[in-house]
Each structure stands twice: as structure tokens, then as C-alpha cells.
Symmetry: C2
Subunit: 393 residues, 2 copies
Amino acid sequence: MNALVTDIVGAVAIAPAPPVSRVEAFIRSTTFDRPTLVIDTQIVARQFAALRAGLGRAHIHFAVKANPAREIIETLVGLGSHFDAASRGEIELCLSLGASPETVSFGNTVKRASDIAFAHNAGIELFAVDAEEEMDKIASNAPGAQVYIRLIVDASQADWPLSRKFGCARDKALDLLAYATSLGLRPVGFSFHVGSQTRRAEMWTTTLDQVAEIWVQAKAAGYDLDLLNIGGGFPAFYGEAIDHPTAYAARVIELVTERFGDVPRLMAEPGRGMVAEAGMIASEVLLVSKKSDNDMHRWVYLDIGRFSGLAETEGEAIRYQFITERDHEANGPCILAGPSCDSADVMYEKHPVQLPLGLKSGDKFIIRNCGAYTSTYSSVGFNGFPPLDVWVI
Amino acid sequence: MNALVTDIVGAVAIAPAPPVSRVEAFIRSTTFDRPTLVIDTQIVARQFAALRAGLGRAHIHFAVKANPAREIIETLVGLGSHFDAASRGEIELCLSLGASPETVSFGNTVKRASDIAFAHNAGIELFAVDAEEEMDKIASNAPGAQVYIRLIVDASQADWPLSRKFGCARDKALDLLAYATSLGLRPVGFSFHVGSQTRRAEMWTTTLDQVAEIWVQAKAAGYDLDLLNIGGGFPAFYGEAIDHPTAYAARVIELVTERFGDVPRLMAEPGRGMVAEAGMIASEVLLVSKKSDNDMHRWVYLDIGRFSGLAETEGEAIRYQFITERDHEANGPCILAGPSCDSADVMYEKHPVQLPLGLKSGDKFIIRNCGAYTSTYSSVGFNGFPPLDVWVI
């Protein structure tokens, strides 16, 4: 029995509608004049609690870049979260909203020297580093600071694997620990990243094995490491099954403990896993067309695209799910594109999406679980369109 | 003899330095606290004059999306340019800076209905369209307006070929003319796009042949077409030889006239070709590193990346040129990356760039000819970084 609610007067059997979230109910009942991300901080709090239950004694450093909305940071400060900041701007945001400097790590391995000095003067004590020159900058601008070395790990099984952009190869890790010591810095441990949207906890094992090998070598070489930063990778639901966040996190910690024992300071940096499911975008269909009468698929153009919030559709990597008011109608394959005059502003083409045949210009179009990596990716005014608006309920 | 200027006191033979543009001189003598696009409107004016000399009686509609800086629009209004607007925002911008509504075309084939009504009420008379539903929206919101049909053309030889996102297939073109008439609109002609950065005028021939075939069919079917919009594609210099804009434009018009005769209303929409060479970005090196001591190449991290202005490096499509203060030193291959904690924020990796071996954190790094498609692509605050700043000299 499907969820179609019949409107025949006097019908006795009404199929139950699926539960509608606060965000969805709000979007359905509200008129927007531009694409708008609607966030529910209750869901952020729920995800924090679920992750904390699984992560146990590991400190959660929310990856601020995933969504720096004031209300999200305030909610997480109130719950005792720590923070992973990518820039001076993010550090200022967290501190201004009540985070203590000792709960904020400066996790970008590429920092402007003056921003390191700013962070140091603001009381930030913990910095990520993956290269000698970065170590020099930290030694000059944050003398005596604690540093952890970001390691490159091999190809992961994440939906969005990371490049070699961050981290040093394993053959350099011990040299960087020695270099930190020689500069008067305090090398405290390692960090790594399994890759964004790693859907199953078991996918962490290969990466953890690689990092544990270096960890053991460093301990054997006499380094008194006490910090392991396991980074992010905690998944959100985009249509493919994922574990409950508590079970997922607990299993990751179990895998970590098997390999590293009781590390005094464990850090985890969920971003997507914390906020993606807390938000939906209220969008609108601008045009539905066929390029040729013989085409098998339609083109559906929205008022939001790759340059106004949906940057993670690049390469069709993240596949969002949609809600329309015609979801009970018959579907057909569509190419989904954004509103700009940019030919690259196409979200899904190689793998078209199924959308209602009756979809038309003016229809409301809700994009599910896109609370992460949308609002701040939005361009400042490409094609004269304003940036993605953000409302918090 | 190279351009190295020796600083040995008393040296008699000084190699002549290459001519330095106003923008370059300004950037070299100025300290910036964030990545900044510096624009010279004199170069915009020079490009406009050069293109007009070649385009003859064709109207130049500057593609505002390429760079909507107020001073650029004001300069072009003063020179008698027309404008191609992608959105209500761009229309408002042009009108507020003195453009007459009859000189502005609404060239986006994907328009919000309320924006069509706004444009119509503001006096805009000319709209692009490629689908029935768009025609319906125009008929309802801009009754009696002039429309031109955007055509899909086959794979071009452009450096950045366009997708099928815009335009209708040729088998639909005449049907759309008929449909426009049936709705009380005035179908006046066709538009197409040869693809961005089409480096040689001769590369236009295949596309023009395709469009001319439909043009002839439409005339034969009794449509009184008087407008041909040849779109953009006018190239900028990114290192590979291009023709002088006047010669290029004149040859394009020659190729058009050979196929279409004396079209009463010719339109061209240069964007990149008008403004790319008018701007340089003042950037800074944040970090130079090697991932492993055995690596052949270095990683160079700038304070600007794909999400803060250099979006056109996607797929390494547009290859910018650089100026550093060490260009007289020996070079070596580098991967060039942006400052964000995003693994996709890498500009050139498959084809590394040659950069001075002595390059280091804090060095000024000038990106040449990037006045087009940079400032507005910039994200509103990704990773806590502010958007690309724009200064006009």
C-alpha cells in the first residue's frame, strides 16, 4: 500500500502519510522568494547526542566548514562540542559564540602566517601540519604550540575519496615529528581522513591499519604521542543505507581501540554527519523541457545549481533526494540543471534522476538532507543571483 | 638575452624589462590583505573599441555575467555598448547605471516567471527562449515580446565547449517559431553559441553552416526573421596564440555574411573577450611543500582557489598564467591548489605548472588575465574565507 492520500470524498481507507519533519512541514507551508536552506537545530542536537553516545570519550570537534550558521554553533557550544576551524574567520565565529579557545583546533594544514599568530594570541593551542614550511610558520607565530601531523592514507572506500592535497606521505611522518621538536613545538600525534561520506564503519579498517603502523613506529622512536585525530567521514543519508550514527561511531571507536589501545586524547571531526540531515533546501522548478521531441529524457531546471549551493554535485558525487508535490504521479528520467547561463551548471546528467512527468515551472522542489556543504559554497552573485538564503527553525 | 635586471652596481648592460601594465604595476606596489581582482577599465574600453572595429554594424551586447563590476558597466554604457543579462539582478544593475532598456536583452533561456514580468515592465523587449514552457511564461508575462530561439550546435572546437544545456535541437526550431506566433509573440530570429574561448575565427564555420541551414528553412517557411545573435566565444589570451580582436571579429562577420547575407539586426555577446585581459588577481603563496622527499613535484598552495574565484580551472579547462617576483629563477613542476580544506580545491594537477624553485610562503603571486568569470563565481564564505575582493583602477 503506498502513501497516496486519496481525496475521494467519503473514502474510508486513507493510507497513512509518511512522517513529515519540522523542516519539510515548514517548507511546504511557506513561500520563498529565492532558494533557501532551512535548518532544524533540534536535529543537530539529536545527531550530536547520537554521535557522542557512540564516540564515547573521544572529543567531537564539529567541522565548522560543513555549516557555520550561528545557531548551529550556538547549539553545539551549549552541548559541549569542540570545534575544528579551517580559517581565522571560523575561529572568530566560534569564539564569538562562546566556544573556549582550548576547544578549538586549527585543522587546516594551509594557514596564513598572520592567522596562525591570531589564533595563538586568541588562545588556540592545537594546529594541524603536514609540511616543514608550515611547521616553520607555526614555530614563528605560535611558539611552543601543540601540533599533530596529518598523514596521507591510501585510496579509501568513501563516496567522495580525498585527493593527496592534505597530509604527508608516511615516509615523512617521523621526520616531521623530529622537525617539530627541533623548532620547540610539541608534536602530540597524528590525524588522517578516511574520505568524505564513508558509509560503513568497516570501511575504516585499511586506513586505521596504515595509521597504526606509523603510530607504533613513532612510539618506538621515543615520541610521547597522546593524540589521535580520526577526522571526519561520518556519513549522512542520501538514499543508500547507512548505519545509525551511534552504532557507526561505536564501531569506529572499537576499531581504533583494537589498533591504538587507550589513546589519551581522541578527536573526531564530524561535519556532514552532524548537519546534513538537519537541513533541506526550498527550491523551485523554473523550466521543464525537451531538447528534441525524440528525446527520452526531459531537462528540469531549478532556481538553484552548482554555483548557488549544490557544489557537491560535481562529478555527480553526492546524489541528493527530492520531494515534490507530485511524487505520487508517474515518473520519468530527467537531467537536472541549475539556473545560470553556465553550461557546467548541470547537477545530474550521466545518471539522470526520476521525477514526476507532471512537473512544471513554478512547482516547489525540496532537496533533502543538504544541511552540509551548501550555504557557504554558494557563489556571492554569479549571473546576478543572490547567494543561498539560510533560515533556522 | 633575458629580461633579468641585474642589480650589480655599475653594470652597464641592463636588459630591458618587459612592459608592465597599469594593473601589474599597481599590484606590485600594493599590499593586499586578501585575494583581490584588480581591473583596469581602460583595457575594457580598448577591447570594446577593438571588437567594435571588427564587428562593424553588429551590436555588442556585453555578457554581464563575465564581470558585473559597476565601473565596467558604466564604462560600457558610456561607449554605447548593449548588454546581455542573465537575471533580474543583472537587468537592474544595467538599468541603474544608465543603460536604456531597449539595449538590454534577457539572454538566459531559463527565467523565473516573475523576472520576465519585471523585465517586461522595465521595458526589456528581447528574450531568449528554447522551449515551449519558456515561451508560455514569456507570453503570459511579457505579451507581444520579441523572442529569438536558441539552437544547439554540434561539438565545437572551443577550449571550453558547451553542453546541451542551452538551446533546442534543430528539428524543433521551426515548431518553436510557429508556437511563438500562436502565442502572440514576435519570433525574430535565432541565437547560438560556438563555445567559450574559441581561439580562431575559422573554428566558427561548422557552427555557422548548421545555423544557416535552419535560417534558410525558416525564411522559406515564411518567417520574417531579422535578428541573428551570434553569441560569445571571443577568446582571451591565456598563453596560446589568439588573433587580435579586431581581425578575429572581422573574420567572424565575414563568415556570417557569406552565409546569412545582410541580416538587419546582428548581435554579438562577448564577455570573456571583453574583460578577461582587463584584470589580474593579486594572490599570495601560503605554503610550498613536498608530500614525500621522493616526489618529483612540489605542491603550491595559494590564498585563492576553485571556490574563491578560480572556478574556471575545473577540469583544468582554463589555464591561467602567473607572475611572481622570482620568475628569473629556475623553475620546476608544481601542483597548484587553493587554501580551503576541500580536497577538490586543486587547480592544476594533471598538467602541473612550472614555478620558481625558490617560491615560498608569503610570496606575492599574480594571476594574469582573469578579469572574466572570477569575482562572481567566488563563494560567499566557504571555509570562513571572505569572497574575492574587487578593486577598479
